[in-house]
Each structure stands twice: as C-alpha cells, then as structure tokens.
Symmetry: none
Subunit: 226 residues, 2 copies
DNA sequence: TTCATAGTTCGATGCTAGCCGAAGCATATA
DNA sequence: TATATGCTTCGGCTAGCATCGAACTATGAA
C-alpha cells in the first residue's frame, strides 16, 4: 500500500534548512569539506556529519577522502538540476529566504549552475545555439547537429571524449532566475571551462557569480548572437 | 544570512509521506476531493485538511469549491514537472497507485453529479453548448446567451422560475472522470430532468449511473453535436 | 424543517529528528 | 612518541509537527 514514498524521502532530505544550505553551497560546483559545510549551514560539525551521511546514503552527495579531510560534492548533474528546478519554483512562488541583496543582479546575469553557465548569459547561449540550428530538440532531450559539431570544434572543444562518456552531452536545465532553459551536460560544462581558459570570465571566490571581463563579454555576445 | 529561494520549505512540503502520496495522486492530472486524497494517503480527513491547506498556502495546490466538495489539483505545470523530476531521480520502482475515477465504464460514460449530468456525455453537452455559443464564459461563471435561451425553451424548459431563484442557473462543474467541466446549476438540473421526461434516459437504482436508451442516446448526440 | 455528508478547526498526544556536549577514531605534524 | 586537527559516534535534551477525537460549519437531500 505505502510502498517506499520515494519523493517524500527525497523531499525530506532537501527539506531541512541545514541540509538545504549545504546543498546550495555545493551547487557552486566546488567540493567542500565537512567543516566548511558545517560553517556554511551554521551548525556544529557533529550535526553536519550526520546530515552529510544521510545525504550521501540518499544518493545526493558523493564524498572523497583526502588525508584527514573529506570533500563532499553533489553526486551528479541530475541532483544539481533538481536543485535549480526547486529554486525556480520557490522563487516563482515567492518563497525567499531573504530579500534580494546587492549581489543579486550579478547572480542573475551570469553564475555557475553546478558546472555549467546559468543566468542571463546562460539562457542567451542556449537560445543562440538553438536559433542557429547547432542544437536541436530530440526525443526527451537535446541533440547536437553537424553544424553544432563544427561550431564546438571551432571552439577548440574535443568532442570525442564527451561522446564516449555515458554522461549526456547536451541537457537542458531550468534557470531559476529566468524561468528559461540553459545548457547543461558535458558540453555545457566544457564550454564554461573554455570561457575560463580563454580569459573571458573567472569565478568570484565564495559565490556562484561568474564575472566576465569587458572583452570577454563582448566576445561572448558575438559568439552567441541572437 | 543566505540569499536565494527557500528550497528547504519546498522540500519539507513534499517531504512528508502523506503529502507526497497526495501529490503523486494528483500527478495523474485529475482533480481529487479532500476525502479522496485522505483515503489515498491513508490518513483521516482532519489530518488531510491541514496538509492540503499547507500545500495550498505553499503554492503547490489550487483548490476549487464545488458544492460541498473541494477539488484539489496541482497549482500549475511547474509543480508537476518538479514532481516528475523528483520521481525520476528517486529510484523509480514505486508505481503510481492513484485510485482514479470510476472504474465502471458505464459510470464514466454517463452518471449523475448531484442533480445534473456528468461523465463523457455531460462533458460533451458542455462542449457543444459552448461551441454553439449558447453558453458563454462570464466573470467567474457562465452566462446564457440569447441563442442559448431560445435553445433551452425549444427544449421545453421554462427559464423564468430558474432566473428568479437565488441558485445560479449556469455553473461549471469539474468532472471527476474526465477532468473537464460539465454543466451544473439549475439549468443543468433542468436539462437532466428533461432527458428523463423525454424517455431518453433513466436512473439505475442504487448507483449513480444514467442509462440512455439507444434512441435516447442518438437523440442526445444529435442535440448536442460538436 | 430535519438529516446526511464534506470539510475544517481545536486541543491534546506522542513520536521523530535536529541539535549539541563529550568522548572516541583517524590522520597529520613535530 | 606527543600533540593538534578533522571528523564521527554516543547520549540526552527539546522543539516541532503529524496525527486523531471531538466539535463545528457548510452544503445538499428528503
């Protein structure tokens, strides 16, 4: 009758404020130690430890031991994408933890979503790739067209390893600030890395903001015109 | 302390087993009454009531009063897609066990809803009346057009007493097997009575089934063509 | 009118789970 | 070795909340 309330378990896992804070912190894509996450959530290490083992057992996190540290990260892209979806719905319904802060506009403009680009620029990139026919909607997902392959390789992205991986190359991820989709998957991740390498953008320490340089921003807007 | 949407609140809302059961039931797309949802979750109506008001306040549900029933449905598509995302992430072995509408095909086809016609034929009648311009959506309700008045009177329905009554003449009523609207109100009631009088249909004792005779069914389908 | 049904509100109860202090491991450095 | 740090386990405390019985409201049926 009441066989394993799956989503209830998942919901309760995310439903605790301390755990939600940790997950949000991990959404930046960086792996963090247990102590850092405890500080992030504002709780003692003991409490954080139980939370972390619960989330790991629940499949939300993966952990890597390194010396006497334990680094935690989101288990996979799907977890990150679920968190973004929830943020989108929460924002839409007006459930905000605090009023919008000064960092808010920068966050809305460009930020990391786990390991790919989100925000206004992320959505623009997705729109541009679709408009130019580089990406195309496929059954239940996104596909890369031949033109798209050429474009990616022109960006010095080696597609071969991406295709051999079991990880989906193109996925759409709902943007919580724009209510539109942006590009996730290994290609989305590779593109963001490329932006860093090109010097177009860099991460702001301690936040999810991706800061584009003036030249980088111009290059980006040219590359992903609408 | 932290900026951004409150996913913990959303998570805790979904994180309770009883609430998750109700939400999963509603994921079928059909609107269900509070009692049905209580049975679905295996809890008493009192408990269900508090859960439902919480979920409504949290923006997950919308409710529609229908006589002494309250039909609950997911607030919008975003809620549904979030639930599906969560089900996808959770081990997907849990099968949906929604106790949906009537299993009896005859009940789905034509039955009484209090005093008016529901089921496939009820929905068809509503669709036809709207398509022909006999009924028109008004603010928060339904209105009878001049053409509609003529049609009703051609059906030997005396509109005068209906208009003098405080009871609304035209109301839309959510069909529990079709999840579409059919016609309620005093006009809906009068029409069903007229079908009985014409010998088109009769009630099956001890059930809510409305049995149309072969001739009656043909006449009905002609009268309410699409 | 009176009765029946759908649903809500109130109050009390009991269980769960988050929380922290203290102690125990584990891994580093000296 | 000794000592410090990162993290976990244990025990007990407490707050929150899901739950239900009982009473109440609202609507429909007879």
């Amino acid at each position: 009758m009441k066989e394993g309330p799956d989503i209830a378990f998942l919901g309760s896992l995310i439903g605790d404020p301390a755990r939600a804070n940790m997950l949000t912190a991990l959404l930046s894509g960086k792996a963090l130690t247990a102590s850092e996450l405890a500080a992030e959530a504002g709780i003692t290490p003991q409490t954080a430890s139980t939370h972390l083992s619960k989330m790991e057992a629940g499949g939300l996190l993966q952990q890597r031991r390194q010396g006497r540290h334990r680094y935690f990260a989101l288990a996979d892209d799907d977890v990150g994408s679920l968190l973004e979806t929830m943020m989108g719905l929460a924002a839409k319904k007006g459930h905000l933890r605090t009023r919008t802060g000064p960092k808010d506009p920068a966050l809305r403009y460009a930020r990391v979503c786990y390991n790919h680009l989100a925000g206004d620029l992320g959505v623009r990139m997705m729109d541009s790739l679709l408009a130019k026919g580089f990406l195309t909607p496929e059954n239940e997902g996104l596909g890369l067209t031949d033109d798209g392959r050429a474009f990616a390789e022109g960006f010095s992205i080696d597609l071969e390893p991406l295709e051999k991986s079991r990880r989906p190359m193109c996925k759409s991820c709902l943007d919580w600030s724009n209510r539109r989709s942006h590009l996730a998957g290994s290609l989305g991740s590779a593109l963001l890395t490329r932006f860093y390498d090109l010097g177009w953008a860099r991460r702001i320490e301690g936040s999810r903001i991706v800061a584009f340089s003036p030249r980088g921003e111009k290059a980006f807007l040219d590359a992903f015109a609408l």
